[in-house]
Symmetry: D2
Subunit: 309 residues, 4 copies
């Protein structure tokens, strides 16, 4: 499998030469400080091999990539009842849009836009205290990645808590419809901490590996979800994982993926590998500009697109 | 491969027992006359075998399924310049919505909603007369299916011409933005005839086979499109092929697909087969209710989902 | 009453010095040719005196000001049944917006946005031919102004017919909801001709005088509408007469008024006078920029605002 | 002036017989307890006479009627700079809609929808503490009504504080755009207390009298605002005072007015009188059903419409 090592090296080299690097998210002050020149890539194959290049071992703020893990955890808790409170359709609007909520009685279109992820966290809260729910999410991600060193960056969480007015608006709005049940402060306490998870590309690709391996973590041998549920989470990532750029990502990369405004993307090649990339600059839809391009090259050279033999 | 024959037989039997059959499209008077009890299914594998059950040889109005063929033809004519005039994102709204057009300067979100397909036909018109463009589309579909008996049902075309006020509105609206260049009457002349193509499930599954076979028609050995373009058309079908039910179809069936209000659906299992189903009753999003269910059973039993190994 | 003559002279002089003159409507080619330096003003008092200045006797295209006369005529024909098909609320959007129609089942918010005026013309068509309906409108306006020299500028009507794609979109869209009953071509035939009425400020102020005089034409002594209906038409002009600038016009001028993209405005000071102004340059909402300013000066100096003693 | 006394008596009698009484606001638990059979009316003429009937001396929650007083107070503090942060156009949507804010960068359309009134309170907060700003509003309303017994119903304020999620959403949303400057909790602290002002019809009609009397309080002889500002506030009430029922109120009643979900309406007949009505049941737009009808009768019989001589 030296091919894959050569591939990630080549991608890292190629990406570093690109001059258009996008725009680092500035609405979370703590994220705005990140150097836009970072780039990392990590591929973990379903047989457990790891191929990394660039800043693949440097932790970054995974932000909305965490929504995949929170959804998986919540589905494990309440099963398909989760879908009573959140939809499964692409939104056709920005990640933080509130318009759709007003038109559809406060029910978010999918669990990967902010509003939907806030509902998922309301479910995770259940009868717990925010601190406990946050603890469970961290434990779950450590379990997925088989790595107890994964942590939450509290400075980032605090930064979002102080400036995340729009997320407060989404939460309060949904509460007015009864779509979330806990006070906005509590639900967003969970949400901001979950988004502040710091992980390296290597850790992220390992955490997502169960989605490429029919729901089973090949390294530990433990089942995370059923084969069917893994497929369905992949389907949601494909149609909704990149906000209003989901169609474009499917068209160019051809793999399920979930992005975060920290510049990370987790992509899944079913039966083959889990891939994580990181480049902090974002495109107009809030997805990593060079991260998307790196995945496009990777998909082309490996032929891993799910859309063709 | 008797398994697949047993499968389509079982599906046809199971579907015929279902009592909720959806609602036959009634806004095109000619379609409203169709008996809701029809059901057909046809699978054509990439090695050329055909497995059919039910009314698989009865022609029906393929309606919007034709948008896949028109898009393929237009891409062959103008290449990626087509994307200057139409987007590649799910719309987040109904198949005939005009709201998005007003918010986005008359540029349709994708080629599979009505507005986008009308732009594609404006491109196909090019310097031709409507009659010629229609002729080219019919020839192309006959070529794809390797079947010269495919025809246009002129009574259906006329019925749409007389009652398709909403499509006239879409075309006039886009023309006000300069997004379409020909008179609405001409572009819709092409559009209504293309939608009025009459095909059986067997013909439809054969016509779509190139999308499952890396762009090549295995029966005739002729290349239709490049491997890359086949993948990309599949990606568009996955994210946009079922209007505002695209996420749901991806979640339940896990295959690229395109539906039509005549009750037909074309689905693609890359590397494996092209599948066509037909049941006239529609669900709330305008997609065949039982057709979707039939494909869900098919995908579960074959394991052909693109989202899992 | 020499005061009013001095006033219109002063206003004409003052307005001619202003350098920001707005932008002449260019989407109707025939209108784009008009010299932006024209300015006219005419006041007709309820006791029949006329005070004019500037180009007050030069005919211009009254465009949407005609909607007041068409509405009055239609109310005379079908009475309050008219309100089954069109609302009475400000739209909160542009004069040619289609978004609201999709959200509210094709029913226009008021008779003074384009969609609403098209419905009014659909009512005026009744069982008639377009030519007859157009004839009735012209006769009615001549009757109101007591002036048989008023005519339709056919070059303008033709120009709109050829380029009014957006109005065709509105009409077709409403027809898809059954809100209009006649073919779009016929209804718009009436609409474009009505909008192409050519009138001078003097004629316009006389035609609108019945609204200032409790529904009665003081010059001819004939009743046009009841006192109540005159009030209600004035109320509609106040809340809806300037599209998405209606609030601003009420705030600054304080009189019921109706604007047209030809640069004309008809304003009504109940119990006092009817006022017409004309300056072809438009503001961002499609209302005459200098015409609005002229009316603001006029209202301040006369104290005719309906909002204060 | 016994005519007016006879009129209010007749109206109170007539209204009490009506069976359709609308629906008492239930989203504020404290308001839901109010008996729907109350009805009060008070007319205060510009020469200081008072004519009352029904429950005209029973205090009720004036809710959004308070927005008129808060706006007047804020204009006194910052003048026309206020309009940098809030518009002057009817909204075309519900009183608590958030859609418009997303489309227009968080700037509310007018000061009488919830979002706009929250901005006004953000201005009133200035450098003060919420308690101080609330105190100023109460003092101002007492000054206007010349009545120191007017008070805030703290149970209502608390009830809104606990359940006003939608208003929290509006405030947080606007803060994300920088349109409001203080924390949502503080601004809404002011807002909920202002809305919880308890006043009788008699008090309310006296408090609004300056708007009928060219900005001057005839009873005390003190100037509240300039004649021009009084006119302009009246214009805003006419175009925006009844949310998405403003056009209807103008059409039927023909007077500037502001409603509240407590069932109160303040109406202004410039140069003649200030009128307050109260009936707790609301129509579909959130305006008092019978209160509107009472004002319609009153306007018809007095001929006080601003739209006709």
């Amino acid at each position: 499998m030296t091919d894959l090592q050569a591939l990630v090296d080549a991608i890292a080299e190629e990406i570093q030469t690109r001059e258009q690097r996008g725009k680092v998210a500035d609405y979370i002050p703590q994220l705005a400080k990140v150097d836009p020149h970072h780039f990392g890539i990590a591929i973990t194959t379903v047989d457990g091999q790891e191929f990394v290049a660039g800043d693949a071992d440097l932790p970054f703020s995974i932000q909305s990539v965490s929504k995949v893990f929170a959804l998986t955890l919540a589905l494990g808790m309440v099963g398909d009842r989760l879908w009573n409170r959140v939809g499964r359709e692409p939104s056709g609007s920005a990640f933080n849009s509130i318009v759709q909520l007003e038109h559809e009685n406060g029910r978010p279109r999918n669990p990967f836009i902010n509003a939907g992820a806030i509902v998922v966290d309301d479910i995770l809260l259940g009868g717990h205290k925010p601190r406990e729910a946050i603890g469970e999410i961290v434990q779950f991600v450590r379990f997925l990645a088989n790595d107890d060193s994964i942590y939450i960056d509290h400075a980032v969480a605090r930064s979002e808590q102080e400036t995340g007015f729009r997320n407060f608006a989404l939460a309060q709005f949904m509460r007015s419809f009864g779509v979330i049940e806990h006070p906005a402060e509590q639900v967003l306490g969970v949400y901001f901490h979950q988004c502040a998870l710091a992980m390296s590309c290597r850790q992220l690709s390992k955490a997502g590996l169960f989605l490429a391996a029919s729901g089973r973590n090949p390294e530990t041998g433990r089942n995370v979800v059923s084969r069917d549920r893994a497929r369905r989470i992949n389907a949601l990532m494909l149609t909704c994982g990149h906000y209003d750029g989901s169609g474009e990502f499917a068209y160019r990369v051809g793999l399920p993926g979930k992005s975060g405004v920290g510049g990370g993307i987790l992509a899944v090649a079913p039966g083959k590998a889990s891939i994580a990339v990181w480049s902090p600059g974002l495109n107009v839809n809030g997805n990593s500009l060079l991260g998307s391009q790196a995945l496009e090259i990777m998909a082309q050279r490996t032929g891993w697109s799910i859309f063709g033999a």
